[in-house]
């Protein structure tokens, strides 16, 4: 049996992969008993940030990754495709329908038992067959046959993601012999579609990819853009703990931080207008915010790349300065949350097994892979090292080229 902890992207992919290969799986998910700062539901594989799985174009790295995952029997990619919403070149999904479908598939699999309970360090040590060394300096556990003897488990996979519960994160930090590392991630706001000013926005995908009109675009004039940036920089921000430095993942830096780097930073980045021709002027606007449908009915739209950590009152006021959103009603405002990850190259083998604890694996964003697709791809450990192969004692084969993505935080150092 394989024990998987965490019912996010990597956890469900790992559980599914093992079960499809005939291995019994016990999947622990602490929601809804214990919620996280970002999750809203009890559903497995819930998307807490963007509803986009990135490009599905076959000649892009993300598209190739998807093709590889599908070839290996992925659950999340075909489910995402079955619950897609218009997203231009990207695979964007209706996050509720998608998560419901994944939950149904996992809970309905005969070989997967879903346990709705917080997985504690004590349970981990019991599953691994007793107390573990305090750090990798204590050396690897010599006898693999004794590992995983508790409760008949052959492998324990921690796939708890960046929102790992504090006790488990602390336990992982102790086992790796290093302080827990973290950075901040931010979530974009979502608005009610009926409150958008459709006389101002225009429907168009960048360079008319996809269906050509998958996105709504809020076009800024020069004056509107500068007024927005000015208000954004001056707006009050939600405080961080005193002892925490605001380290952000580069792809999710709050817009107020980007704007603080220079007045043009946003219009050459998150708000770039290239490939968006305003039908009123026949030209690209000075800057543009894109709105992407959140659901198939298009009753909700998310503000693309508008993640921020402004205080909620002022956040509404500032975002309503975006042309077309002057009367917008927000069903979710931007927030930031702390993410945890481990230093994979130092503590894990190439197949994501702890060097110091045979039988203990890590999958998903805890390994510092960025984004849902690369994170869920990480469960595709090589033959012989995949938890489902543990009982078979097969030789190890290194993973494929696209799988060998560089750890995600390397660019921020």
């Amino acid at each position: 049996m394989v024990t998987v902890v965490g019912g996010g992207f990597a956890g469900v992919e790992c559980a599914w992969a093992c079960a499809q290969r005939g291995v019994r799986v016990r999947l622990y998910e602490m929601r809804p008993t214990t919620m996280t700062p970002a999750h809203k539901t009890h559903l497995l594989s819930e998307l807490v940030c963007s509803n986009s799985f990135k490009s599905q174009e076959p000649d892009s790295p993300a598209g190739q990754l998807k093709a590889e995952m599908k070839a290996l029997g992925s659950l999340v990619i075909p489910t995402g495709e079955a619950n897609a919403v218009p997203g231009g070149a990207a695979l964007a999904v209706d996050r509720d329908l998608y998560a419901q479908a994944v939950t149904k598939a996992i809970e309905g699999h005969a070989l997967i038992e879903v346990v709705r309970e917080e997985f504690t360090p004590e349970m981990a040590e019991k599953a691994l067959g007793g107390p573990l060394p305090a750090s990798p300096d204590a050396g690897p556990r010599g006898d693999k046959t004794n590992a995983m003897s508790g409760e008949g488990t052959n492998a324990l996979v921690i796939a708890t993601g960046p929102l790992t519960s504090e006790p488990l994160a602390q336990w992982l930090a102790e086992k790796t012999g290093r302080d827990s590392l973290y950075f901040y991630d931010a979530v974009s706001p979502t608005i009610d579609a009926s409150t958008i000013d459709y006389d101002t926005v225009f429907a168009q995908s960048r360079y008319e990819k996809g269906e050509g009109d998958d996105y709504l675009n809020c076009p800024f004039t020069k004056e509107q853009y500068h007024a927005f940036v000015d208000a954004l920089i001056k707006a009050e921000r939600a405080p961080l703990h005193d002892f925490e430095k605001p380290k952000y993942f580069a792809g999710c830096t709050p817009i107020e931080e980007i704007a603080s780097n220079g007045v043009d930073s946003l219009r050459y980045g998150n708000f770039k207008p290239v490939g968006l021709t305003d039908p009123k002027t026949g030209r690209w606007p000075y800057a543009a915010v894109q709105l992407r449908p959140e659901n198939k009915e298009k009753t909700l739209y998310s503000l693309v790349a508008c993640q921020n950590r402004l205080k909620w009152g002022v956040q509404k006021e500032v975002l309503q300065m975006i042309p077309g959103l002057q009367n917008a009603e927000f069903v979710r405002l931007g927030v930031i949350h702390r993410n945890t990850y481990i230093e994979s190259p130092k503590v894990l083998t190439p197949w994501l097994e702890f060097r110091s604890v045979p039988g203990l694996f890590v999958a998903g964003q805890l390994t510092r892979r960025r984004g849902s697709t690369p994170a869920s791809r990480s469960r595709d450990a090589p033959k012989g090292s995949h938890p489902s192969h543990r009982r078979e004692k097969r030789p190890t084969v290194r993973s494929s080229a696209t799988c060998k993505t560089r750890p995600r935080a390397s660019s921020r150092r």
Binding site: P61, Q64, L65, A71, G371, V397, S399, A401, R406, R408
Partner: protein, 42 residues
């Protein structure tokens, strides 16, 4: 960082044009995946 072609080393005799370099990397990725899958299934 999301996955992108910049994460992969340039192929030997890398073409000057960016699109051609990317295509070569894509071909290598597809070849490596197919070889890995065959090895896994053997």
């Amino acid at each position: 960082m999301n996955i992108n072609w910049g994460l992969f080393p340039d192929p030997p005799d890398a073409p000057r044009k960016k699109d051609d370099r990317r295509q070569k990397k894509l071909d290598a990725a597809r070849r490596a995946f197919d070889e890995w899958k065959v090895a896994m299934e053997a």
